[in-house]
Amino acid sequence: MQNKSIAQLAADLRLRTYSSVELTQHYLERIARLDPTLNAFITVAADAALDAAHRADATLKRGDAGPLTGIPIAHKDIFCTQGLRTSCGSRMLDNFIAPYDATIVERLAAAGAVVLGKTNMDEFAMGSSNETSWYGPVKNPWDTTRVPGGSSGGSAAAVAARLCAAATASDTGGSIRQPAALCGITGIKPTYGRCSRWGMIAFASSLDQAGVMARSAADAAFILDEMAGFDERDATSAALPVPDYVDALDDDLHGLRIGLPKEYFGAGLDARIGDVVMAAIKEYEALGAELVEISLPNSALSVPVYYVVAPAECSSNLARFDGVRYGHRCANPVDLEDLYKRSRAEGFGPEVQRRIMIGTYVLSAGYYDAYYLKAQQIRQLIAADFTRAFEQVDVIMGPTSPTLAFPLGSKLDDPVAMYLNDIYTIATNLAGLPGMSIPVEPVAGLPVGLQIIGNYFQEARLLNVAHRYQHVTHWHQAAPEGCE
């Protein structure tokens, strides 16, 4: 069951080959068996999931099922879920239960999806290894001594280990694509504004975007179909029609122009990754695509720009966690300043504190122009690089991550090395473009991701491009040992 596509699961549920309750129980059993090792879930909502599955079965019986009715999924613990704890991977919100659903949670529930639980993540989505979580690191199902990537490491590991049919995730600088690459699954970060941010706990508001992690582009298309679209509660969500992503999956790729940025294949890239990524791109040539070498000259600036803009926004976004109204409050504060200082020092881990301090610094009087303003200017240049590139090509391809999944603990003491893991993914967030990662041939038994970047609101094209590759290859079907 756990290896079936969402389309197949939906068909089986309609034929009552098995019920949603049976399917849900199956996943819950897998979680009980495998998750103690993987730590992909922060909260498993078994009772609520079974209740939802019962309701789904009733709906299926009545014959008015939605596209996802009865399909068990998981939500990254960054999305608020009414009545179910939303921790954001932080001690700060260990006791927080939202009185509302995030828009995407609400929409997937309306489509009939069953929520198994909330997945682990780097604290407040700040990290590339899922090691900053208050709830402990997630293990990579392909090698449990290695990281799954981050910040959506829990969603990636859960999907890779077949603990859910698909999972939601968020991507601020690569948090969907990098863990998708490191865990051998398919992940899509849509265009900024495509999915509502309402109810998604903010890290860096101008970069954050909700997306999907699944075992295939087709599965991702099913989920994204239900998530995407304008929401009046998010002023930055795009008031544009949403195409049917499933419909476009099989479109022909003849004449597709693929841009290969030379900056994405240079120093810093593990040569073995470069080889398998190029092999995958050659596969596209066989499918009728045309390869075009392009340049994104400001690529090298994306990491430094990101580490000004994202911390600046986070320093402000996380100011609300002050111990006054909800969340962690220190014991016996002696006065207001003590309440603030100790609640925040205890509630936030070191990486979050580091970014709050960087962000506070770059926004402070006398430094704003030199850092924040300058970074925003360079951000425009980075976006302009892509605009020029998309005059020549339809999609851009390259590696998702410069390295394979690395051993747990190996980069924790070197934040810059950790930050560089997102060197290929960050620029798309700065530009607001959609990006995907799909698995290609593994290296040394570890997954490798091919990144596909599209022009604004070209998610249908991205999913189509990814799907056609998955149609002629089988890398996306491989399961980690013990998770088959």
Partner: protein, 477 residues
């Protein structure tokens, strides 16, 4: 040394919207604490602001009313600081690009000259909640009902030169916001709060002195006293060899003094940056014209018109245009009775006195404009004497009845029947032969005695003109 005072005002006026600037929670004043704050106002995780178009509309109306440029594109920014009644840890405001740009208003100085005061800018922002320090022994209570209430912060140029000018300017802004219906201006409820930037400099000096900012003054009287105190303080300080430091001060109305709240060094670094949750606010011509299409006649224009159309003095015109409600009331009376000057006297005299005494609003006046016009008509047609008309007005005020009903009920109708007046005069002449003698001997003053007797006998109801005429005829006979 001669000193010159330099004052600039920042006025926070609460915009009269039904719901908050970034949420759908209601803005009504006086509800139980924390019953009018939704997830957005509470700053819960994951929530996002939704801009209330009505707040934008009201801000645009203000801009138009002070002849300011309305920015086609303005930007919301975050003002970051920690305070328990500031749920998000930042206030959404506007910083570099405000919605309303440079404008101007005119104030009338004591000597009657008109002075133009520049308005630097006006920007939209959200209010914070309230910290309640009483009633919570050792704790502070937080009421977030006010959090997210829309404010328009109106910043003046440092054009004001005395406490009186500052008050005249503040009253002018208060008058405008109420005229155009963007704020109730209720000062007790905090809908209109003033901060004053005050400095002094030797007369003739071009550069400004160091300023102190007096925060949160909520009455015109306190504004005047606070500035006056502060000016004295600064002059005394400088003259005794000290220096004014840039700081924020609070006015204590009980002690009538300002005292330091925090110095520049203690001030927050607000780390303003554009709010990434809100797109730049774009205002197109269609929105602009829809927002300002029904702008009412503004106070200055109304005052000029009252002078030319109704022949009122500048003083009366000023008085009667103080609020839109009063002006509308006056116009209704004037038009109904077609006696604009008499109407002005009655409205600014008896009516205002009665309103002041009862501390009531003109909208709730027991004597309607139509009823007052009815009374004036009765004075004009001689039904009631000018003197008794005041008594009629009092009757109308307490009963809510029309002038006719009060005149009838109290028997105040003027006696115009000549034979009735003649009969009274005959009796009085007969009863006072000595006075008749004196009058006929040329002592004209005694005439007044006879008038008084007739009025007394008639209960002031006899028509005075008729009394005069008849008395003269009879006494000369």
């Amino acid at each position: 040394m001669q000193w010159e005072t330099v004052i600039g005002l920042e006025i926070h006026t609460q915009l009269a919207t039904q719901s908050k600037i970034f949420s759908a929670a209601p803005t009504a004043f006086g509800a139980e604490p924390n019953t009018q704050a939704c997830a957005i106002d509470l700053g819960l995780p994951g929530v996002l602001p939704m801009l209330n178009a009505e707040a934008v509309r009201l801000a645009v109306r203000f801009g138009q009313a002070i002849n300011a440029d309305i920015a086609p594109r303005s930007v919301f920014a975050r003002k970051n600081y920690f305070y328990p009644d500031l749920p998000k840890g930042y206030q959404i405001s506007q910083y570099e690009l405000p919605i309303v740009g440079t404008g101007r208003v005119e104030i009338v100085l004591d000597d009657g000259t008109i002075k133009t005061i520049g308005v630097t800018r006006a920007h939209l922002e959200e209010d914070a909640g309230k910290s309640l320090h009483e009633d919570f022994h050792g704790f502070t209570g937080i009421d977030l009902n006010r959090a997210g209430t829309p404010l328009l912060e109106i910043v003046s140029e440092p054009d004001l030169r005395s406490p009186a000018e500052a008050v005249a300017y503040a009253k002018k802004i208060h008058q405008i916001v109420r005229y155009i219906g963007i704020s109730d201006g209720n000062m007790q409820e905090g809908s209109f709060r003033m901060d004053a930037n005050v400095s002094v400099r030797p007369v003739g000096q071009k550069t400004f002195g160091t300023r102190a900012e007096i925060k949160n003054v909520n009455s015109f009287r306190f504004l005047e006293k606070a500035i006056a105190f502060e000016v004295e303080r600064q002059i005394e300080l400088i003259e005794s060899g000290g220096t004014v430091i840039q700081e924020t001060r609070l006015y204590d109305a009980v002690k009538d003094e300002t005292r330091s709240m925090r110095t520049k060094e203690e001030a927050n670094d607000y780390r303003y940056f554009p709010d990434p949750d809100l797109l730049p606010l774009e205002i197109d011509d269609a929105f602009l014209s829809a927002a300002t299409a029904d702008l009412p006649e503004l106070p200055d224009a109304k005052r000029t018109r009252f002078q030319s159309e109704y022949g009122l003095s500048e003083y009366d015109a000023n008085l009667l245009t103080a609020s839109r409600e009063l002006a509308d009331y006056y116009e209704a009376v004037a038009r109904a009775c077609n006696e604009p000057k008499l109407a002005a006297n009655w409205v600014s005299g008896e009516l205002m006195a009665a309103l002041n005494k009862s501390e009531g609003e003109i909208s709730a006046s027991p004597v309607s404009a139509h009823a007052l016009a009815g009374l004036i008509a009765r004075i004009q047609d001689g039904t009631v004497s000018g003197k008794l008309a005041k008594q009629v007005f009092e009757g109308m005020w307490s009963s809510g009845d029309t002038a006719d009903a009060v005149i009838e009920a109290q028997g105040l109708k003027q006696i115009t029947d000549s034979s009735a007046i003649e009969a009274m005069i005959d009796a009085i002449i007969a009863a006072n032969p000595a006075q008749v003698e004196q009058y006929r001997a040329g002592k004209d003053k005694v005439f007044g005695f006879f008038v008084g007797q007739v009025m007394k006998q008639s209960g002031s109801k006899a028509n005075p003109a008729q009394v005069n005429e008849l008395l003269q005829r009879k006494l000369s006979a």
